[in-house]
């Protein structure tokens, strides 16, 4: 590579390494548990949260299941294992959470969300977006509740749902991701602290975008939230989660479980903008993002779509999946995963076709820079009964610089001949020739690089809800262009 170009790439890499803007910490008083995990801790957690008996038992069972399980190691990433005995499993700001009025929220916390660009006052929010703010383990504030209630939509913290809507929670929680599904789902089931719950009743189009902002603040706490979205027959909803964390030298574990249930003709669109702190150039610190996300298209003609822009975390292991059970149901996965510095991402999806004439689309775009490692792992399974089903997968990788890696691991199995699976994969490098071509037309080097990247991810970003497209572009800018102009 020529010197000038490698300068260009270096510049790009340094732009990519742009200072993490969300790395500040908030000074709040915490109500913490002793470190470590045991049946007592789990019971105490449930007690502090004033949970009903059935929930306590659910947790205790999950804890014992987890104790028997082995930490997985099959993915393409190496890291220091989390120390489960040295972690905080409950950490909540002392001031009582889930308040009725904004005025009661700890001003420091309110300021935190302001700094993150998420003002909690309804009048200042994006119109048409309801927000649930989760600070460390606890839901702090949910906006627009009344307006949603008018439409019959329930949007509240998981803690509240367990108390107010136990029949729904009992029916659907762990119905998509069983407790024993994997090591981290079992752990989450035992110690999850909060999260968001949404329920969209029959034939209802949720009147606004729903979103949750997850913020890890406490250095020693793990974050284990649980999200459950149920769309009844003919219901539709679009939900977005955003995530940030302060910069600490120690790794922090984030092990969430997200479950989506779509009944007949229902439509769930779940978008993620994940920007957890990813550690420094030497790979010190950053979040371990080990998340189990799964949706089930339970009813016929139902539709679940996952869209994710993953830019953060030191290590990401995440495979948002769709079980296509209802006939004619549709599953989609659109993903942009950006890794820089020493980040490691092993992410992808699973599409499990069970119903007839089910369709799935996978569009995965990986961008790797620095010394990072970016793997796509995707499973497409078409069962014997899923006649007439179709999958279309594209997974493209773009490399920036010489020291990063991109890998693709497709697992495809089809058990009937009337179905079709199409898989395309490409790997390209942000090339000297592309940059020169655009510069020859008068475009500056930074703009040229940004154009190439934007062109690369366009098919995915256009799937994000309009309200967040701008935010996503901004994030990519910060991550990939930084000092342009």
């Amino acid at each position: 590579m020529s010197e000038e170009l490698s300068d260009g790439v270096k510049e790009l890499e340094s732009m990519i390494g742009e200072e993490y803007k969300y790395g500040f910490t908030t000074d709040v008083e915490y109500e913490d548990f002793p470190k470590g995990i045991s049946e007592e801790i789990v019971r105490e957690l449930s007690r502090v949260k004033e949970e009903p008996e059935w929930m306590t038992e659910f947790r205790v069972k999950a804890y014992h299941a987890w104790k028997e399980m082995e930490e997985p190691t099959w993915f393409n990433a190496t890291y220091k294992k989390p120390d489960f005995e040295n972690m905080l499993y409950y950490s909540a700001p002392k001031k009582k959470p889930q308040l009725d009025s904004m005025d009661d929220v700890d001003p420091n916390i309110r300021e935190t969300y302001e700094k993150l660009g998420i003002p909690l006052e309804e009048q200042k929010m994006l119109s048409g977006v309801a927000v649930d703010a989760v600070f460390d383990s606890v839901s702090i504030f949910t906006s627009f509740k009344e307006k949603l209630a008018e439409a019959g939509v329930i949007f509240c913290s998981m803690s509240e749902a367990i108390k107010e809507h136990p029949e729904l929670v009992k029916k659907y929680m762990a119905s998509v991701v069983p407790v024993r599904d994997n090591f981290y789902s079992a752990l989450n089931s035992a110690v999850f602290s909060d999260g968001s719950f949404c329920y969209i009743p029959k034939n209802t189009k949720c009147p606004m975008e729903l979103s949750t902002y997850f913020r890890i603040n406490n250095m020693e706490s793990g974050q284990f939230e649980r999200t459950l979205i149920v769309a009844e027959e003919g219901a539709s909803v679009s939900y977005l989660e955003g995530c940030t964390a302060p910069m600490y030298d120690e790794n922090q574990l984030h092990a969430a479980v997200v479950e989506l249930v779509a009944l007949d003709d229902a439509d769930i669109k779940y978008s993620t903008i994940q920007n957890w702190y990813s550690g420094d150039e030497n790979g010190k610190g950053g979040i371990y993002n080990f998340v189990t996300k799964r949706g089930i298209c339970k009813g016929k003609n139902s539709h679940i779509s996952w869209t994710q822009l993953e830019t953060g975390s030191a290590v990401t292991l995440k495979y948002p999946s769709v079980i296509l059970k209802g006939d004619n149901s549709v599953g989609e996965f659109y993903s942009v995963a950006v890794t820089t510095k020493k980040q490691q991402a092993d992410t992808g999806t699973k599409m499990i076709h069970l119903g007839k004439n089910t369709k799935s689309t996978i569009i995965s775009k990986g961008i790797s820079a620095g010394q990072s490692n970016n793997s796509y792992r995707g499973e497409v399974k078409i069962s014997k009964n899923a006649t007439g089903s179709k999958n279309y997968s594209v997974c493209d990788s773009m490399l920036i610089g010489q020291e990063c890696g991109a890998h693709t691991f497709p697992y495809i199995s089809s058990e009937n001949p009337s179905s079709s699976v199409e898989h395309e994969a490409t790997t390209s490098r942000v090339g000297e020739e592309q940059i020169f071509y655009l510069m020859q037309r008068g475009i500056s080097e930074q703009d040229a690089i940004s154009m190439i990247i934007n062109g690369f991810v366009k098919d995915v970003l256009k799937e994000l809800p309009l309200e967040f497209a701008v935010e996503a572009n901004k994030l990519l800018d910060v991550k990939l262009e930084g000092s342009v102009g």
Partner: protein
Amino acid sequence: MLEIKNLHASVEGEDIEILKGVNLKVNAGEIHAIMGPNGSGKSTLAKVVSGHPEYEVTQGEILFNGEDITELDADERAHMGLFLAFQYPVEVPGITNKTLLREAYNTIARANDREELDPLEFEDYITEKLDVIEMKDQFLSRSINTGFSGGEKKKNEIFQMAVLNPVLSFLDETDSGLDIDALKVVSDGVNKIANSENAIVMITHYQRLLNYIKPDHVHVMMAGKLIKSGGFELAEELEANGYDALEKELVLNGEAQ
């Protein structure tokens, strides 16, 4: 307009000299043709003049409108009105031709304190330019060169030239990959763009193109140098006798090493 003096250039960071003392002068209103066998350095010359970072100028200078541009970046040279129609146009997926051209047009306008065009004005402007090259407007909304046929890519280069209206254009083997009808359309387009204030340097292998775009000056490039210059008759001579004959003649005259 353009004056290249004793230009030597190597592959950046390596000891491979490709241009070995090129001299060339191009005035406004002129059309030049550079001919030469494969590997003689024609594309390299065009890329070095337009500022490709892969090459390093080790000696000599490139004056453009009196200014030495050897240290300028490719985009700065483009702002001054330099254009290169690539021998192998590059694909950029996900960005449409129109987006690129509006961005390019306005960036160049800004750099020259000219007025930028808003999207609607640009729409009118660009639509009018489609005629120059008989291109369909669906080209505008397709990703840059992505999935274009060889001929379409070449046409697209000349279309971009028409839109950006450069002062000096290098056309690198624009004729290759074009069938005879397309060649005619492209040549007509170039002839429409050419005027007394701009200049064109065509790089070609064959005389074919020169039948449609008449050059005022013809140069022969061999082994990194322009070894002979003349009028249109030089092209005819090459077509008849080939490069070997010319080389022998020059050796006999002691003009080549």
